[in-house]
Symmetry: D2
Subunit: 437 residues, 4 copies
């Protein structure tokens, strides 16, 4: 059957690429993937998947870094203008994007495959040297671009769905397959809300993936990625009291003093004996005018830790610093969580399975066990941790591709033929687990 | 002659008020007083004053807090649309506003009278309770308003010019009178450039004035104001280097650390044994995004001192803090001076003269010697210091009026009859000095 | 009678000087004035004053800046060795020094005269150019010296007591006189505990005084001193947790970070619109060794304000900063009050009385109304405030003398003849009030 | 021959232990190992080693963290009292401790064996539960103790010397052996000065070792230790200007503000992408009294880095912070280097050699390849780096022992039988290299 699968995937290669180009042309940032989600839902529905949307797959108050209502509405109606599915878009209103499609093949393990689908606030490069522009599928949405390959992930997901649907009789009675199309991975904002909705509670195996890494060319495959840092991203608002800096300086409550005290102390949090960490205050905006004691201050902060425990240490310490900085200067404060991810270690058994299959396929000529490179974060870790805590297994592999520029760069582009390789690996891995778990 | 002067001023009262309403309707902020200046120049010229404009009265590089070239141009052409004098506006292009008009009455002392003419970036209140709105002379320029009475000062200046011109034969052969219409008093930006141009080098007496003070009603006169604080206003730009906060935190140069270190230390500068002081960092904007080491930071700062020496102490200390904060974190910095004023003490002899004349006039029923209230600043002090250093005398008096709301408030308004009182006092004082110096 | 008083005081002049030299030779710092107090109590008792000591005149827990029990004991036994009165010293054990002696002359106003009696931790200069050394009455107590003239104050008090006792029949039936010998004025530690004991609750007039001011020579008299700043002096102890800085930096609780954050923010407290202020962290000691996260930190702090309200503003703000700095870094803290004084304004009526009497006496040739010089503090203000709140009057005058070096200098010395002038003024003023209140 | 060596070492076992107990009884801290060094020199000399001392083995100005001259003298004369060798002590005067003894066995590689010999400022526990106390060889020098086993290292070195001397005819003509007895390893102060003297310039192999690690019991052997962090230890002196905090706060130069600004910024230095780091300000002492602007401040600082490059980054950044903090507040500063070590990676070939021999000996039952544990520092790295840069090899092994308490604890003690194992390993490894390099 493996050969038949490979052959079939090859036949739908152009279709997969077409999906990718469509998504690329209409990029949507986190929590506004209205068009993308509705189209995916429509396709999955046509392929026989059972669809879950909206609050069934997202715990409302756990959605982090949500845009304003005005923005959500704006993007919703633009999606309708740009060919969103009018039926499936409805439950997504208000930022309930993402899709879960289930193929029930009888008793057996539950396998979840996760694809993230959001774009970035980056204007796409315009020039003949940029293939999407040359071939006229570059972004039509101002200042928004699929510069991290999530358009590819969505397209791979649809390719996987089509292939699995095509072969479902051949694997009948072996278990369940859940395709999870996750919103708002950028800024690690979406996974937690999906996990908290319960959609992973019955899952035994979860598989995630990314296309392209700066150092991996086409043909490479990293079977497991362990270096993701746990991270917390949050905004702080200090509210003091304005007063005239000449006439009544003591009558103000100086929010800038609170903010600057916080900045120095946040950056001063000690190193952790158990591993690496990162802290950054990336933005600070404070005060209105030269001769006014600054009433309002705003900060964007992130902490990272090599393990979730390390990150929790910094998160807790940071909150203490912020609270104390505010109280010190008698100002009020508010914290808004904008994103969160855990650290994660792939299940070795599953890594081995990826490796064996990767080697067995013709398409990978450079199969690497494990990457431990740190620095970045991925909220797939929320899902993998959930499944592993339940006794299940998880893995996150990376498919190499020749990229034109680094991720999050306005000239980012991939070799589209590598999408087909990813589809093959996902499908054969899934069937392998179902048949030989 | 005094009686004749008083009578004449009464006859031109409506004209003075009409000037004020015209200026009020077309307010122009500092360095954009193109319409105001050109109209003043035209009138003075018609009245027989010799006119000086542009670089003859402003040292180019000493103009502080200049708007961008785009803004200057925008306001210049709007002024033309709003009835500026087409001849006299030309030398003002590029922010060379203000007028000096000289009436040469022969040998004798040189007396300068100073009137400031700029408006504020404040939207004017619209409502029947606001007289300028009700009588349809409220601001037609968006977000700009004469909310500090400099429209009145300009009108008083024209009233004084007309009266002096009318009586010039009567005081022939006694000296020279310079009417100085100063731009950009708000933010204490304009006086220094006028002083540095040399226009005060031959002046023996200088007289300035303000209309209205929160606690002075119509009929009040404060003969001398000594409490002005010396002040320096400047902007700081830190330029570091961005890097990814997760991937390469040590490769950045963190301008926010420099800025926050500066803020804490600036606010920590010690009290001064010789008198009061003020320090404020009113605005701090730093960084771009959560996960980027902040490359750029910007601060608006001001220092004040009860004396010029005290303010100089803080200015020097502040510069040391900023330089060291930058060097500490290996970032570049740039300082732009946005305004500066000195402290000042009125010449007692001149204060007495104001007092005697004030008492002798019918129109003031509450004549107060000296005000020592501190907190505010006035760049008239630059002019007064210049004249006093030359051995001359200076005074700054305040004419009470019933104001509707505090200065810099969108409902600010005066009792226009009080302008007439001010004109009388200016003219009679001037003649008195010329005749009995 | 005035002439008789003056004559009598002249006859006991040498005795007064002998008292001063005795106190000078055996100086005792605040709360250890065991010998001094016991001798004063003995003398007053012999002169017919009713004596109150110990907890009757000091509220235990309000005594600030108390030495350790070991020190108190050490000084107690040294006092016994140095000729303390064995009976009157007993109630003073444990740091309950000071004496109140009352002369009850029947119904009428209650007048309190206050004399402070403590020395300083300063080693006395040894050299023939220093009169106390030359005449062999310089300090025999290591590193302790009467370098602020409180030995003179104590001697003046005894001279006043002797004179009043001598003339008591002449002023019988006119009121009560309380002589208050206050401990621990240095560091403004003692007055509050006396006030809280209630000894001033029935007082109608209170009079304090100092001998010598840098700029006043012999013959000068300042009738009222208003410039004393309110002040609060306190120590802060931060207790964190030590850990190895290399092996487990995150397991420590860094008290130095708390302390340094406090220092920067304390110095950053804003200027006050209502008047002058001062803040100082004078000492910071933190940590043990290079490679240990600092567990303990200690700070000595003082705030000052031109008025008690201003000082209260800073005291409250400072406590907030300290509390928040501790909480920020999860360390414990403890605050110990080491001294406190209020601002004060002398009662004008009483100032005038001092002036009239000062002028009427032969011995003052330079009588000055009021001094408003600020910078220093005096806890006499506690007493004066208490009396004034009750509707009474208070005054603090200064008697000039030719000093050899500034106060708190190891060469400090006075012209002893000026003590006699002070005794005359105190006595005649007291009788004047009693007779003509 | 190996068997003969083992047998011989067993016969001198008691002698080795006796050496250890003698050194233990007379502990000497870094740069004061006068008695220890002179006795070692005497022994080596007797055994036929050529001795180098003083400036021949220590570059004067590179000795870091030297005690004061008074201390050096005090310890020198105490050493004489306690049985130092009167001839060999002379060149050590002034803190030129340590010994290099060379056994020249003809042409061939040069092998250096390094033993550190200094004690710690720790008072030794007194109690029957502490063997040195029970057996009466605990420290007779107040507050000084061999609590890190360097007494054992010195004794091992003498055992190695005696054994090599005994077998020198058997290994004639194979190369040179340098025994390096290093002073002042605690605080990583001594190695750099030895390296800079040139004594390692001709060395091909260098071997260092430590006895005991918290987690290694008797019988364990770690063949290579790679986790040592590079480190720099330095003291900072800030000198400002005192002034009265009430009377003239602006006339002071506040060294405490400089120090606290430095503390916050030092702790804020960013994480390094290339590996772990540590920063600590362990001590801060600032100011004299509550009401004085703090003139002097003193800080003890250390930085650490997983690699020498990382540590250099922090060292350079720290110096910038200190310089800028001083300039910011117009205070002077001085930096004194108190210790420095590099990171280091053992030569794998030599690690393997240690491993093979360790396994071949009966005495080790737990042979571990490599330890990568980080946190600590060792200035042996200076020597190893020097040799490796020359193309040579280096290794640092650890011999397990049952310790009674952790290193640097007042109850620290070892199982003395393990010294014999170390001697065997050193000697057999040395012969192995010489014969089979």
């Amino acid at each position: 059957m493996k050969e038949k699968v490979i052959k079939f995937v090859d036949t739908i290669g152009e279709k997969i690429i077409a999906y990718r180009r469509d998504f690329h042309k209409y990029p949507e940032v986190g929590w506004t993937e209205f068009r993308t989600s509705s189209i995916i839902a429509r396709k999955l529905n046509e392929l026989g998947f059972k669809i879950k949307l909206g609050k069934d797959i997202l715990k409302d108050e756990e959605r982090m870094g949500l845009p304003s209502e005005e923005e959500l509405d704006h993007h919703y109606y633009r999606a309708l203008d740009q060919g969103a599915d009018e039926e499936f878009i409805r439950p997504l209103k208000g930022g309930f994007t993402g899709v879960v499609g289930t193929l029930d093949l009888g008793d057996g393990p539950v396998i979840a495959l996760r694809f993230d689908i959001d774009a970035l606030k980056i204007p796409e490069h315009e020039g003949e040297d940029h293939l999407p522009y040359k071939l006229k599928f570059s972004s039509v949405n101002d200042n928004i671009m699929h510069a991290c390959g999530h358009d590819c992930h969505a397209a791979i997901g649809l390719g996987v769905a089509e292939t699995l649907s095509r072969f479902k009789e051949k694997i009948d009675g072996v278990g369940k397959i859940k395709l999870i199309f996750q919103p708002a991975e950028e800024g690690v904002r979406g996974a937690k809300a999906m996990v908290k909705s319960g959609i992973l509670d019955d899952v035994d195996y979860i598989i995630g993936s990314h296309i392209g890494l700066i150092s991996l060319s086409s043909g490479a495959l990293v079977c497991g990625t362990n270096g993701f840092m746990a991270t917390t991203k949050f905004d702080v608002y200090f509210k003091g009291l304005a007063s005239h800096a000449g006439g009544a300086p003591n009558e103000g409550k100086n929010s800038m003093m609170a903010a600057c005290t916080a900045v120095l102390n946040l950056n001063s949090m000690p190193r952790h004996k158990d591993g690496g960490s990162r802290i950054n205050v990336g933005t600070l905006v404070s005060g209105t005018d030269r001769n006014i004691i600054p009433e309002n201050s705003f900060m964007k902060i992130e902490t990272r830790g090599e393990t979730t425990d390390i990150n929790d240490y910094y998160k807790e310490y940071a909150l203490r610093i912020i609270k104390a900085s505010a109280e010190m200067h008698n100002v009020d404060f508010k914290i808004e969580y904008m994103g969160e991810a855990l650290s994660g270690v792939c299940s070795q058994e599953l890594v081995n399975r990826v490796k064996n299959i990767g080697i067995s396929l013709d398409c990978f000529n450079n199969v690497i066990d494990i990457s431990n490179e740190t620095g970045g974060s991925e909220d797939f870790t929320y899902m993998m941790n959930r499944v592993q805590k339940n006794g299940g297994q998880g893995v996150y592999f990376t498919v190499g591709t020749n990229i034109k520029a680094g991720h999050h760069n306005s000239k980012f582009d991939v070799n589209e033929r590598d999408l087909i390789k990813a589809v093959k690996l996902f499908v054969i891995l899934t069937i392998d687990i179902l048949k030989n778990h």
